[in-house]
């Protein structure tokens, strides 16, 4: 069974600093997808970044980047130049393919300190 683990229930970062959120997963599949979603107080689930397992290059979206270590089954999210609007719950998610469910981690609550 696929499992996703986020070992940091809460994290905090100073505004303009960098923070890294951790995620590990367990799977026997060789092809899959990994995602980070952000859930602000509005509870809307917003896609932050995604990674295809067959791609060795780490995904990057502006201030957000990932460190994907396939052998270690690790998928961490780095947020650079943190902004107040980055404060939210961040969920790591895993999926095998389109049409299949997402497996979510338990989330990391990120606080940005002005």
């Amino acid at each position: 069974a696929q499992t996703v683990t986020q070992s940091q229930p809460e994290m905090s970062v100073q505004e303009a600093e960098t923070v890294t959120l951790s995620c590990t997963y367990d799977t026997s599949e060789s092809d899959y997808y990994l995602f980070w979603y952000k859930q602000p107080p509005s509870r809307q689930m917003i896609l932050v970044i995604r990674q295809e397992a067959y791609k060795q290059q780490n995904a990057t979206e502006n201030r957000f980047s990932v460190n994907f270590q396939k052998a270690a089954k690790s998928f961490s999210l780095k947020i650079s130049d943190s902004q107040l609007g980055d404060a939210a719950m961040y969920f790591c998610a895993y999926s095998i393919s389109t049409g299949n469910q997402f497996y979510f981690g338990t989330g990391t609550s990120l606080t940005v300190i002005p």
Partner: protein
């Protein structure tokens, strides 16, 4: 850009009543997913549909049923409601033929409170 539309946004029901949640996917999207998120928890997958057929099934109680219609909108029907059904229910959609993307776009959710 059009997003996933869920209605109603809030719903209050009594125990043992029924509830119907609706989801309108992004135009062109053919796959719909339902998730349940309890207070302080991560979203749990319930069920998904592709082209009106069930494509994946998770921890959906037998009291719940869902379907996808010809216009691709979906409805989640919940009967004999229990206090534990109080949660935020998300619908997400994706475009199956957008291979390599596998992105699910989420609606704003329906907050169900069972009293």
């Amino acid at each position: 850009a059009a997003g996933v539309i869920q209605s109603p946004r809030h719903l209050i029901k009594e125990k043992r009543e029924t509830a119907t949640l609706k989801c309108y996917p992004i135009p062109r999207h053919d796959t719909v997913y339902w998730y349940q998120q309890g207070p302080g928890q991560d979203p749990q997958f319930l069920i998904s549909f592709y082209e009106k057929m069930q494509s994946d099934k998770g921890s959906i109680p037998d009291r719940f049923s869902a379907q996808q219609f010809s216009d691709y909108h979906s409805e989640l029907n919940m009967s004999s409601l229990e206090l534990g059904d109080s949660a935020l229910y998300f619908c997400a959609s994706s475009f199956y033929r957008e291979q390599g993307a596998n992105i699910q776009y989420f609606g704003a959710g329906t907050r169900l409170s069972v009293l």
